[in-house]
Symmetry: C2
Subunit: 399 residues, 2 copies
Amino acid sequence: MSAVEELRNKIAELKQELDQQHQNAVQIGARQRIEKMSAEVVDSNPYSRLMALQRMGIVKEYERIRDKAVAVVGVGGVGSVTADMLTRCGIGKLILFDYDKVELANMNRLFFTPDQAGLSKVEAAARTLSFINPDVCIETHNYNITTVESFDKFLYAIAKGGLISGQPVDLVLSCVDNFEARMTINAACNELGLNWFESGVSENAVSGHIQFIRPGETACFACAPPLVVAENIDERTLKREGVCAASLPTTMGITAGMLVQNTLKYLLNFGQVSDYLGYNALNDYFPKMTLKPNTDCDDSHCQAKQREYQAKAKPILEEQPITDEENPVHETNEWGIELTDDNAEDQGESTPAQTNEVAFGLRHSFEAPPTQKQSSGAHTINSTENVDLDDLMAQMKSM
Amino acid sequence: MSAVEELRNKIAELKQELDQQHQNAVQIGARQRIEKMSAEVVDSNPYSRLMALQRMGIVKEYERIRDKAVAVVGVGGVGSVTADMLTRCGIGKLILFDYDKVELANMNRLFFTPDQAGLSKVEAAARTLSFINPDVCIETHNYNITTVESFDKFLYAIAKGGLISGQPVDLVLSCVDNFEARMTINAACNELGLNWFESGVSENAVSGHIQFIRPGETACFACAPPLVVAENIDERTLKREGVCAASLPTTMGITAGMLVQNTLKYLLNFGQVSDYLGYNALNDYFPKMTLKPNTDCDDSHCQAKQREYQAKAKPILEEQPITDEENPVHETNEWGIELTDDNAEDQGESTPAQTNEVAFGLRHSFEAPPTQKQSSGAHTINSTENVDLDDLMAQMKSM
């Protein structure tokens, strides 16, 4: 073998090693896909602790999670952890929407890592999530859903993105940080009649909330719009130069946890899904409430869905008055803990979440209709006409 | 230049690229250490959103977090997320204790990744955490703290592990999954007079809790021992072959969030630290309570600390009766939300967490002493003498 030949062989060898390095960087340690979830209790089974929920009597058929598709709109402090939790739970499909980039300034929240700075959030998230669980189908959309041209793409993605061909996703999770995007998701879900969860964390980092919105059945985001929306104020004018919102990984993690836990309860049909669950970190206070739809809602699709819901619900309500027996304490509740009763106000009791006091900066810009006692147990919160900048700021902070 | 020379140059070039690849694999994207936390609002500042807590009026001096050392015992589903959150918050020092290895069966909870399977949990966690935030000092202890020889090492590590030479850590966080380890932490903290948080997640994955234990001031873990401890039962005999506990990233994430949020409130002196905060995922119920120390506690260090606390507290209590003015609604609470009053029982009100009903499987194996109305507002929970296997299982599930 000549010296030249030897050197050429050496080069081929080095090139091969480099290729291997590049490949490793992409899929170091990644596991193989798993065809069927197993309940087998071995260290190598990533689903054993989830399938154990069946043996514990919590979930009837855990594996049904593989048939579910969920859209996560906004992959920031709450959305990224939400996607991470759903991925580790083995959700069938995730559709991620964001148009922002990862920055070092995001490192005070869970999920993203410093090496991802500069990558688009959806791309960075998709890489990490596929690596954690290659069984989840992940689809990314890197655009702002609030622009006119993007709205149709967004609408199509959630209307046809389900795991059954041509069907919508099973749930939309809003993890965005502004009212305009929330109103966009609200409009899309009202039009499609899709159930969705709203979520938010306050600008001062010490409170958060989730809200389950079922078009026609509960208040939509436009039924009880924040003042900043109702007054048609450009929210960007409320943000000041050189000032950023505070955030904590704790509040974001708890809000994502409440969001995904209620998502699991809804998708896998166990426990009670909360209509609204708040969190105040300063005193560990977690208010719950239900918001009735506004019959004068500005969104015509909401009004149409309300009429559909009333038409369907009426004969049921008239024939079968709801009794306590229909809301039994969950079978697995072995500790005699009493469930919080949303009808408590009817029994003369009152908790902060159930009075007419405004909680968590939630303010309604319209007068509440006269309370109609309904067997559904839903109730409204009184509004106020008193509009000033303090109110607006309090509201901004409550989102 | 000859062909041989050209080939040699090519080899040198390829070798250099390979070296670079190897180096990247070790420290790809890692950022430089930051000498001083800055509040500057730029994308490259990992602390801007945390320092904003000062401008928002939530925390007086956020940077004091850099002077704090926290021990995290147990780096599993709750402990790993706890360490992750504290690292992203920029804690000064973390001391991690565990003796377990990462397995694919852990992938249904946040933090660890499939490529870490086989690594020790403390080593895998330390690598990830140092990469996320190189400003945090991370110390690892890879042993079982419950063995006789390890106990002294554990005691020394928390007694001398503070950031001021020779001083103890500022707080111990228990994130273990068994009673024996909890009793070990309890014994160490009683001996040293160190404040610590207990935490736990139920075997059926749908409840969790945190408990703040201040030796002498609140009940210690031995004051109100779970039956399995009081009856001296080997808890390993309660676990069945081929059966594993269920777990969910949501419940673990929420429990870690509650734990770290209360840690931040305690270390940085804002809001109200909860003595006990529970979480029931099935109905989004979060009970709160306070447990008084047991004057007949089996732990002699606890009894000594109780006498010290009483001696210190007595003159203060006699001279300054506690009034509502000493517990004002937090200044940043702009929404008029009323704080939950632990004294509610004195006013004839009652919530599930404040009655004598047993919540979350907590059962006391001793008769509660006659209730002494004290201005501290603490209260006890009645015990039961009724010991059977169902009780034990309910308790196991509640941890």
